[in-house]
Amino acid sequence: MDMRAYAFGLVVLGFGFPAAAASAGPPMAPAATPPAASALASLPAHWLDDQGRPLDLRSLADRRLVMTMAYATCHRICPMTIHHLEALQQELDVAGEQATFVVVGFDPDSDDPAAWHQYRQDRGLNRPNWLFLTAHDAAQVRQFADRLGFEFWRYDEHVMHDERVVVLAPGGALQLSAGPGHVLHASDLSTGT
C-alpha cells in the first residue's frame, strides 16, 4: 500500500481514537473510601520537611489535610496533580477556608529535602501551608501509601503511580479519597463527598 495512504490512515486513526475516547463514557468515579477512623494516627509520624527539619505528622491533627504523593522528577502525572491542588487552594482562598497541603515523596533517596526545596522554589509553591515531606526510608513510604490507598511501584528511577488525593478532616479522620479522573473542588471538602 502507498506510504501516503498508510500515513493518512494512521493519522485519522491516531487522532480519531483520542477524540472518540474523550467523548465516550462518564468520568471515572472516586475510589471507595477506606475505613475512616484514626487515619492520621495510623500513618508514620516522623518526617523531614524541605528544610531538613523533623516534622511530626501528628502535630497537624487539628488541621484539614489535603495529602498526595509525588516525586520531583515526575513530569507527567505529578504536575497535573499539583496543578489541581493549586486550583483547589485558590478555591479555598475565595471561600475563606483553610487547609494544609501535604506532598509526600515516593523516593526518599532522590526526593530528599534539598530536592523538594528546589522543586517548590521552581514552581512557586512557597506558601507556609504547603509541606513537602521526605521519609526516612522506603519502608516508611510504603507504609504511608498502603494506609491511604496510594498505589505505586518502582521501575528503576521511575515511579509508576496513580493520581490520588486524600483529605483528612481536623482530628485525623479520613474525609475522602479522590482517585484518577476525580478533581477535587472546595465544595467537595465542605460536603465530604
Binding site: M3, A7, L10, G14, A41, A72, I77, D109, R142
Partner: protein, 443 residues
Amino acid sequence: MHAPKRLSFAFGLALAAAGMAQAAPAPSASQRIDSLEQRLAQSQKLIEQLGAEVHALQAQIAQQAAARPAAAAAAEPAPPAAADQSERLASVEHQVEQITASSNSAHGEDRGLPLHGFADVGVGNHNPLTPANKGAAVGSVDFYLAPQLGEHTRGLVELNFEVGEDGGVGVDLERTQLGYQFGNTGTLWLGRFHTPYGYWNTAFHHGMQIATSLRRPRFLAFEDQGGILPAHSTGVWFTGNQRTGAGKLGYDLYVTNAQAIDGGVLDMRQAGNADGQVTVGGRLSFQPSSLDSLQVGVSALSGRIEDAIDPANDTRLNVFALHADWDSDALEALAEVYFFRDEALPGGGSHSSTAGYLQLGYRAGRYTPYARYERTALDQADGYFAAQLSGASYHREALGLRYDIDLKSALKLELAQTHNTDGTLARPDGSYGDALLQYAVRF
C-alpha cells in the same frame, strides 16, 4: 533477534505461568492469609486503643502545663505525677511503634511478589524495527519483578517476550541482577544489566510506555534489534550518587564479560566467555541544584570484542560519550554523541566513527509532540562495524506525537524518513519512510 527457539518459548511460558501461579494464593495459603488478617485486625484494634490512651495522656499533660504558672514551672522541678505520665506516654508510644512495625512486617511478608510490566503493539507501513515487514505487529510483553530481599539486598528481574523478524517469539532475561546496597554510597550489582553509558540506555529500559517516542534511536537499539553498542552486559556494576552543595553527582563503574559479535549481532556472553576477557567502563553524571532539570554526563567503555566467525577480526572497542538531558514539566530535550576509536586486533590500525541523536519533546497536557534527528558515520573499514548486520551508517529524521489515553496507556504516532548511507547486504543504500502507530501500556 536471536533465532526463535521453541524450547525457549515453552520455557518462558512455563516461567510466566509459574509466576502467575505464585501471584494467586493456593487454597492453604488462603487460610493462612485469613488467619493473619484476623491477627492484623486485632493488632490494629489494640493500636487504636493505645492511640486513644496516648491522646488522653497528652491532653492531661497539656492541662497540667497550662494550670501551672510559667515562672514557677521554669524554677521548679517537674512534679512526680507529670514525670511519671511522661514516662508512661513514652512507653505507650514505644509499644505502639513496635506493634505497628510487627504488623507491617507480617503484612509485608505476605504481600507476595508484585508482578508489573509493559506491553506494546503497533501497526504501520513497516515494522518499527525491521523495515522489510509491513502491517500490524506485536512488539513485546515485558514482566518486571523487583523483590524486597532484605535491608541491604536488592533484586531485579526483567523477563521479556518479543516478536522477531520472522514472527517467532523469543524470550530474554533482559535483566537479572542481585545487588547489595551500601547505605548512601551506592549499590553493587552482579548479573545482567543495562550497560551504563549515555542517558537513554539506563533511563528507558524495555517498557515503551515510559518513553516519549515510539522507538529507541536506531543505533541505541538492543543488540538483536539493530543496535551497535552492547546495551546489556553481564558482570559487576557499582552505581550510586551523592548530593553536594552544587548538585547531584552520579557515578557508575563496571567490569563485565567482554562481548562478541556472533552471526552479525552483538552477544553479551551472559554465560561467560572462553578467554576471560573483560569490558570495563564508567560514567559520571551531574545535575546542578540551580538547574535540576538538566543532567550532563560523560561515559567511556573499552573491551576486546571477539568476532565469533573470524578471529582475525577481533577489535578493541573504545567508546567515549557525552550526554545532556533537559527534563522539565514542559520540555524534554535529549542529546547524546558517541565517539569510537577502535583498534583492529592484533596489531592493526585504528578507526574513528561517530554516532549521535537529538530529540525534542513538548508536553502539552495529554499530548507530547516530539522530533528526533539521528546520525551515524561508521567507518566500514572498522571490523567492529563491518561484522555487524546493523553496522552501516544512516541518518533519520522523525516527527511524532504521544497521546496519554490515561495514566497507564499511551498512543504514539511517528512519521520518519531513514537514509542508509553505507551499502550493506542487510541495509542497502537507499531511503524509506515510516508511518507507525503504537499502543503502549503498563500494568
